[in-house]
């Protein structure tokens, strides 16, 4: 199947997924019970709202392990945890998942409560040595994990989590609610200075989180307490039905070890760390190798099939070459270069190995300094919103497997996304744009200041995208635009400065948790861009607190409509991340999900996801690997 057909399928799949997305929003946003009586969360995935006739986005379905045994008399492989692998699994010493991580990325610790941003960059595998309170399945639905069930009280502000009593640390001590309390306190601790400290702020803030982070209240005032050994109580500042979804970032640290070592950095030392999760940390050499091995003492529910996870540090430009040489089992889409994708597209064998994911629903967009001329005039912003010829840009520059056009912020498949309904607002229409500019007094670009489009350390493909957009603005509107690919920290420093120093830039945002309040929260007045719209704020914050799924989705969609119309941002494309996997990496996690993607979905191979339970190496591996991976 050629590229065009595949892209049409993709688009069709997305449009259908949009409808599904609305339905799945209901499931994703409320993993717990209703607001009144404690109810058990769904233990199984409820059927999707339309028949699952979504076509897979690959030309042929990937070789998932259908558990229909063939005549081959392969004795079933059982791993060190006692999990029996499917009949076509490779022998135990081959059950190793070998991947790359970025050699130049900082890698301080593999535990997310210690650090989020210094964890090996894109494609690294982390968060395997502790269970999280909840986890996601491949349809992004919240599933029980360390918390077997949960419920909230009538106010919606007090959540009670019933923890799995079987969880133990690898040194034999049991995992209790105290460990979780210590973990959250550590995350809020000013001396720890967690780099993700904004996360448990509004929307859906944990009670007293901001005050504890600021040092104004002692940590025992944080709204995370242990009712008894296996019951955890988390309070929020405002009613937040999506709090369970947010709690996917809760990889538990050991209270005892935190006390002993004074910090969570013990998780980076194989000699000191203990694990209550599916894996043990065996080697941790940032810039070289990070290795996890299966934890035979694991008693939780996320029982993995893979015995070892081996990560090798490499430079993204060399990763695909390494894949071709057979050193690793996959390269993620973020690690692949444009030329790599071209080579894959031209090779039928390699094309078959591509598995598409939505990854973190990342949307790239242009943004403006909305407080100062010329972009404080909404007509100017709207004019710019009509200049992006998304179809051509995706076809020619991004290439169709790497993204789909974005006319709004929420990617199809994300809860409350409304791509079809909002498609017209920021459509490609240079005529209209010129008319708007003329209205605003900049006919033909006269009088318009020269612009510099700031990029945030983008790879070549998005530099080309920005250059093309800049050229179009110049050619159609007569406005001079330069493009400057700024180094990361210079960019963020300038963006977050008060007042902001970036007049015109291009940046992206990907999800942190599966709720519209996360993505739409970027545009709140307290968010990271300097667009201040009270109506929008009210809508988003109100909808965030509501429990009536249909009503809140409607309000979120209205808010997104306002966002598109007021155009503090011009949406360019949503990234579809095309990972490439060797054919012997199989498992149910690779079957098409609710939106039709048949790849390893966000958040990937971690405790936050149930993909651990199904991913394994098939016996085809002997055709590819020489010997066993180190």
């Amino acid at each position: 199947m050629d590229q065009d057909t595949r892209s049409r399928l993709t688009r069709r799949a997305f449009l259908r997924a949009a409808a599904i997305g609305v339905g799945s929003a209901a499931l994703a946003a409320c993993g717990g019970g209703g607001a009144t009586a404690p109810t058990a969360p769904p233990a199984t995935i409820p059927p999707p709202t339309t028949a699952p006739t979504l076509a897979p986005v690959q030309p042929t379905p990937p070789p998932t392990a259908a558990p229909a045994p063939t005549a081959a008399p392969a004795s079933a492989v059982t791993n060190s945890l006692g999990v029996t692998l499917p009949a076509n699994a490779a022998p135990l010493e081959q059950q190793a998942f070998v991947v790359y991580f970025d050699i130049t990325a900082d890698f301080t610790s593999p535990n997310q409560m210690e650090t989020i941003y210094k964890s090996g960059g894109f494609g690294s595998i982390t968060n395997l040595t502790g269970d999280t309170l909840v986890r996601l399945n491949k349809d992004f639905q919240v599933q029980p994990a360390a918390a077997l069930s949960w419920s909230s009280d009538e106010t919606g502000k007090v959540w009670t989590f019933n923890l799995d009593p079987n969880l133990v640390w690898s040194d034999g001590t049991p995992v209790t609610a105290e460990d979780f309390v210590a973990t959250f306190r550590y995350a809020a601790d000013p001396t720890h200075a967690w780099d993700f400290a904004w996360y448990y702020s509004a929307p859906g803030a944990i009670k007293n989180w901001d005050k504890c982070v600021a040092g104004e209240l002692p940590l025992d005032q944080l709204g995370v307490t242990a009712k008894d050994k296996h019951t955890l109580v988390i309070e929020s500042e405002t009613p937040a039905p999506f709090l369970p979804a947010k709690l996917v970032y809760s990889e538990v640290l050991s209270a005892a070890k935190l006390k002993e070592f004074g910090s969570g950095l013990y998780t980076a030392d194989p000699a000191k760390t203990i694990s209550c999760g599916p894996y043990l940390l065996k080697e941790f050499k940032p810039g070289e190798r990070v290795v996890f091995e299966i934890n035979p003492t694991y008693k939780g529910t996320n029982r993995p099939r893979i015995e070892r996870v081996i990560q090798i540090a490499a430079r993204p430009e060399a990763m695909f070459a390494g894949y071709q040489a057979g050193e690793v089992d996959r390269v993620t889409g973020e690690q692949l270069q444009t030329a790599d994708n071209e080579i894959i597209a031209r090779d039928p064998e390699l094309s078959r190995q591509v598995r598409l994911t939505a990854a973190d629903f990342r949307t790239d967009y242009l943004f403006f300094d909305c407080q100062n001329p010329p972009f404080n005039d909404v007509r100017v912003r709207q004019a710019f919103s009509h200049i992006i010829d998304r179809d051509t840009l995706i076809k020619s520059i991004i290439t169709p497997t790497q993204g789909i056009p974005a006319y709004s912020f929420l990617m199809p498949g994300f809860p409350a996304s409304n791509s079809e309904g909002l498609k017209n607002i920021q459509r490609y229409d240079p005529e209209r744009g010129r008319a708007l500019l003329k209205e605003a007094g900049y006919e033909g670009g006269k009088g318009f200041p020269k612009l510099t489009l700031w990029l945030r350390n983008e790879p070549q493909i998005r530099q080309a995208l920005a250059a093309a957009i800049a050229a179009e603005i110049t050619q159609e509107y007569g406005i001079e635009v330069e493009v400057s690919n700024k180094e990361f920290k210079t960019f963020m420093d300038a963006l977050n400065a008060k007042p902001t120093q970036i007049q015109f830039g291009m940046v992206s945002y990907g999800i942190d948790f599966l709720d519209p309040s996360n993505m739409l929260g970027v545009w709140l007045s307290t968010g990271r861009h300097n667009w201040f719209n009270k109506t929008y704020d009210e809508m988003v914050l109100k909808a965030a607190e509501m429990t009536d799924q249909e009503a809140r989705i409607k309000i979120f969609q209205d808010a997104e409509r306002l966002l598109c119309e007021e155009a503090p941002a011009v949406f360019i494309y949503h990234r579809t991340v095309a990972d490439i996997y060797k054919p012997y990496v199989v498992g149910e996690c690779f079957e098409p999900n609710i939106a039709g993607f048949a790849g390893l979905q966000w958040p990937g191979f971690t405790s936050m996801s149930d993909s651990l339970q199904t991913l394994y190496i098939s016996n085809e591996v002997t055709k590819y690997r020489k010997g066993t991976p180190r």
Binding site: E342, N457, Q460, A464, A467, V483, S484, E487
Partner: protein
């Protein structure tokens, strides 16, 4: 060793030569014109400079982009040398790239030469405290990471062509300075310099007319070698947003940008590389010719 002290000495010492006294530079020009390789290289340099100066006439609208024509190979869709990843004509981009890179390369080396040669001359010839201070400054500038210096400079003064040139030149003068100084160490003790001193020729004249021409060889090489280095350094800085912004073309940036495409779209990397190599080779051969031409010991 028949060292030359002054023009008059030639006619005095060597009675066979009965030409009128000649000028160092005119002699050099004549000698240069007889060097076929150097003349050929000079023509190439001339062509490149011509292209650079008249880039706007030869290749109007180099930044015009048709995304639909992105990444075409040479010969496809009417583009002689193909297009780049944004759909811009490679031929036009290369022409403007030559201009930018020549400006960067020559300016950087010119500034570095002025600063480096002056300081090196002073340190090498005068020695003592001058040498001490110059060397300390050299060591200081060596230790500063160029990236940090560029980040700092550009965050204060902004980006753009001039500031990039400054950022590169202010670190790049070090080698030239040390080379000049080293040459001077060995030359200043030579007999002809002693003779000049004995004759009472003032130090500045000694330095300028006698030491510098003899110290030229490694300087010329450093300058010609420095041109591609400057071009690539500029590319590196531009990649971090610290240098020349798109859509201005520069050969170094084109090579750097080609890396993501190189396994398939070889033309995006090969063509600018060839031009950089051409610039460097032609400058090198001109430099070699210059050195041969200016060498006082070859005077006939």
């Amino acid at each position: 060793m028949s060292a030359i002290v002054s023009d008059k000495a030639v006619t005095a010492v060597d009675p066979i030569i009965s030409r009128p006294p000649s000028n160092l530079w005119r002699d050099a020009a004549i000698r240069f014109s007889k060097n076929k390789l150097a003349m050929g290289a000079l023509i190439v340099v001339g062509v490149l400079v011509f292209i650079g100066i008249f880039a706007d006439v030869l290749a109007p609208q180099p930044n015009f982009a048709r995304p639909i024509d992105a990444r075409k190979f040479p010969g496809e869709a009417g583009y002689i040398l193909g297009t780049d990843d944004v759909g811009r004509d490679m031929l036009k981009r290369l022409i403007h790239g030559v201009r930018t890179s020549l400006i960067v390369g020559i300016s950087v080396q010119a500034i570095a030469l002025v600063i480096g040669a002056t300081l090196g001359l002073g340190a090498g010839f005068l020695g003592g405290w001058v040498d001490f201070f110059v060397m300390r400054i050299v060591e200081l500038f060596t230790a500063i990471p160029q990236l940090l210096f560029a980040l700092f400079l550009i965050s204060i003064f902004g980006g753009g062509l001039f500031n990039v040139i400054l950022a590169i030149a202010l670190i790049g003068w070090v080698d030239i300075c040390r080379l000049t100084r080293a040459q001077l160490f060995s030359l200043r003790e030579k007999e002809f310099i002693e003779a000049a001193r004995a004759l009472g020729i003032p130090p500045f004249q000694i330095a300028w007319r006698h030491l510098l021409p003899n110290a030229l060889t490694p300087l010329i090489i450093a300058v010609t070698l420095g041109v591609p280095t400057a071009i690539f350094t500029e590319a590196g800085l531009s990649f971090l947003g610290l240098g020349i912004n798109e859509p201005t073309a520069s050969l170094g940036k084109m090579v750097g940008a080609s890396f993501a495409y190189i396994r398939v779209y070889w033309h995006m990397g090969l063509l600018p590389t060839l031009l950089i190599a051409l610039i460097m080779l032609s400058f090198s051969f001109v430099g070699d010719g210059l050195r041969d031409a200016l060498d006082p010991r070859l005077r006939k």
